[in-house]
């Protein structure tokens, strides 16, 4: 069973639709007990790091998601969902994340006179192979909308980067967890392939 986290923040229907069109029957999950039956977990995200973590705590989802990750269930974080996988985030005040990937989430540096948020299509350059990116070629475009980005403490966790003034980490992974800064559900053919690959992924990944 593929579960998509839906705690009423942001539009998660597009993620649901993309997974559904790929031939799977996902369910929305919002309660800790609903996570127990999942074979795959997708954490989409729109919003503010600390506000969303706070909501997850109130819903008692933090320990449930931590337990799911610890069980080895393949987990995909999208956009803010990716950032929540980090050790901490600065948006809305310093706040702890799930610490599934040793990383800090910081504001996109405004030093290159590039607009923030970073909105639009941009190239994804792989730094290592990952099963979730099987059959997707290097330097293909994906759709981004974000003001914060993930800084990984170890290069082992960096799967891909994108150039927005400097190389920003846009795909990060650790064991059964993978996060993508862009929106696969809005990235047409390559995004669909990514979601299909994720739904087929057994959670195995070693840098």
């Amino acid at each position: 069973m593929i579960g998509i986290l839906n705690i009423g923040l942001g539009n998660v229907q597009s993620v649901y639709n993309a997974v559904y069109e790929n031939g799977y029957d996902p369910i929305f999950v919002s309660k800790p007990e609903e996570l127990e039956q999942l074979t795959h977990f997708i954490m989409p995200g729109v919003g503010n790091f600390s506000a969303v973590m706070h909501s997850l705590e109130q819903l008692k989802l933090v320990p449930a998601i931590q337990a799911l990750i610890a069980r080895g269930v393949p987990t995909l974080g999208i956009c803010l969902g990716m950032q929540l996988l980090a050790t901490s985030g600065e948006e809305g005040g310093l706040c702890k994340g799930f610490d599934a990937i040793a990383a800090k989430v910081k504001a996109i540096p405004n030093s290159n006179n590039l607009r923030v948020p970073h909105v639009g299509w941009n190239e994804v350059k792989f730094t290592q192979e990952h099963p979730v990116f099987a059959d997707i070629k290097d330097t293909r475009d994906f759709y981004f909308v974000h003001s914060y980005h993930m800084e990984c403490l170890s290069g082992d966790n960096i799967i891909a980067t994108t150039d927005y003034g400097s190389d920003l980490v846009c795909v990060a992974g650790n064991k059964n967890v993978i996060g993508v800064q862009f929106h696969p559900e809005k990235s047409q053919k390559n995004g669909m392939q990514l979601l299909e690959n994720f739904c087929e992924w057994d959670g195995e990944f070693h840098a």
């Binding site: 559904y20 069109e21 790929n22 031939g23 070629k137 053919k189 299909e196």
Partner: protein, 394 residues
């Protein structure tokens, strides 16, 4: 018109671009195909694709089949080399010729395969031909959409995920590119990109329903199945020619030797030189004729271009064939006009609107090409069935 300095294809050819030497991108693709693609690796990929599906379903694969050289070779190759168990699916567009049908019977019996043949409603076919002729100057929508969509419905009905086509489109155009080193997927993206002329079956129903008595279900064979259903099946729809280097002339020789496959005369073509190409449709001459009127070249140019790219003929000889054979009317024009119930003037008027500049056709100055041997056996309608039965005659 500018023409490729290597293969002669003109600037009106679909997806063509010329480099600084005046050589077209399709010639460059061929160089890439010959020199850069790791065909050994591709052959290993083919084995993996086949073994992934072998023995798991009622059939190992669906094999869309016209009976022309490409699908016959594909069937022969997969049965012979891989002992695959295919379900052969034939979409009979309504213009299949005697020699082709004999070839098919012989091929199926020699190879020992199961076959489904589907023939859509002829009266609807005529209406569809007229609609796309008027809108796009291309009357083959019913055939091309049917050939590419119908086998996908059969794949779903039989729950067989692997669909094997023959020749990849990169042999002729650059919608897909050998240089991209991708395995071309024969999917809805490709279908919408260059098969359906931008007209879906749903669009088509809306276009014809007001003047033609039609149940929307009649358009089902021309719809592409839902992506979700295909994905759920975990479909894989690929061309054999993406995995083995495709060589039309060599392939044809093999099926002639192994299966007794016979070529045929096609209107407007040099019969001795090209007896193997597009023998499956009695309206091929009309398709080529319209292509000439629109774009200033016909199949002769395409065939000589392939031979030039393969270094098989001299440029002077190609020029001579083109000069001798292109720009002639097919005798089937008369039949075509009878099927659709239009006059030659109306036909010319329709086609004139779709001409691709800088070519300017001379509708008056063309002589007839000779009749093929089987011309007198092609289907003819009697007085009462000619043309299209409109709700309100126009």
């Amino acid at each position: 018109m500018q023409k490729c300095t290597a293969c002669n294809l003109p600037e009106t050819y679909e997806t063509i671009e010329f480099d600084e030497n005046g050589v077209c991108n399709i010639c460059r693709q061929k160089e890439f195909k010959d020199e850069k693609i790791d065909w050994q690796r591709r052959a290993e990929m083919l084995s993996r694709v086949i073994e992934k599906h072998r023995g798991k379903y009622e059939y190992d694969c669906i094999l869309p089949f016209s009976g022309g050289k490409d699908s016959t070779y594909t069937l022969w190759y997969l049965v012979k080399h891989y002992k695959i168990r295919p379900l052969v699916v034939q979409f009979n567009h309504g213009f299949m010729r005697d020699t082709l049908m004999e070839n098919n019977r012989r091929t199926f019996k020699k190879l020992g395969v199961d076959v489904i043949s589907f023939t859509p409603n002829w009266k609807l076919v005529k209406r569809l031909m007229l609609e796309t002729l008027v809108r796009k100057g291309d009357f083959c929508w019913h055939c091309h959409t049917g050939i590419f969509a119908y086998p996908m419905h059969i794949a779903l009905k039989y729950q067989v995920p692997l669909i094997f086509w023959g020749e990849p489109s990169s042999e002729y155009t650059a919608y897909y590119n050998y240089e991209d080193d991708e395995i071309e997927q024969v999917d809805e993206t490709r279908f919408n990109r260059f098969i359906n002329l931008g007209i879906t079956a749903e669009d088509m129903y809306s276009m014809i329903k007001d003047d033609y008595q039609c149940d929307p279900r009649e358009l089902t064979p021309y719809t592409y199945p839902k992506l979700r259903d295909l994905k759920k099946l975990k479909y894989q729809s690929v061309c054999l020619g993406s995995y083995i280097p495709w060589d039309v002339k060599e392939n044809t020789k093999i099926i002639q030797q192994e299966l007794g496959w016979r070529g045929d005369q096609v209107e407007g073509m040099p019969w001795d030189e090209y007896s193997y190409e597009k023998i499956e449709c009695s309206m091929q001459g009309m398709r080529d004729y319209i292509k000439y009127l629109k774009r200033g070249y016909s199949r002769v140019s395409q065939m000589t271009a392939l031979d030039l790219r393969n270094g098989r003929i001299a440029k002077e000889y190609a020029d001579k064939l083109i000069a001798d054979y292109e720009g002639r009317k097919p005798p089937s024009l008369t039949l075509f006009l009878e099927y659709l119930g239009i006059s030659e003037d109306q036909f010319n008027h329709i086609v004139a609107k779709t001409v691709v500049p800088p070519f300017k056709p001379d509708f008056e100055g063309m002589e007839y090409a000779p009749k093929t041997d089987d011309f007198d056996r092609w289907y003819r309608e009697d007085e009462q069935d000619r043309g299209i039965i409109f709700k309100n005659p126009v």
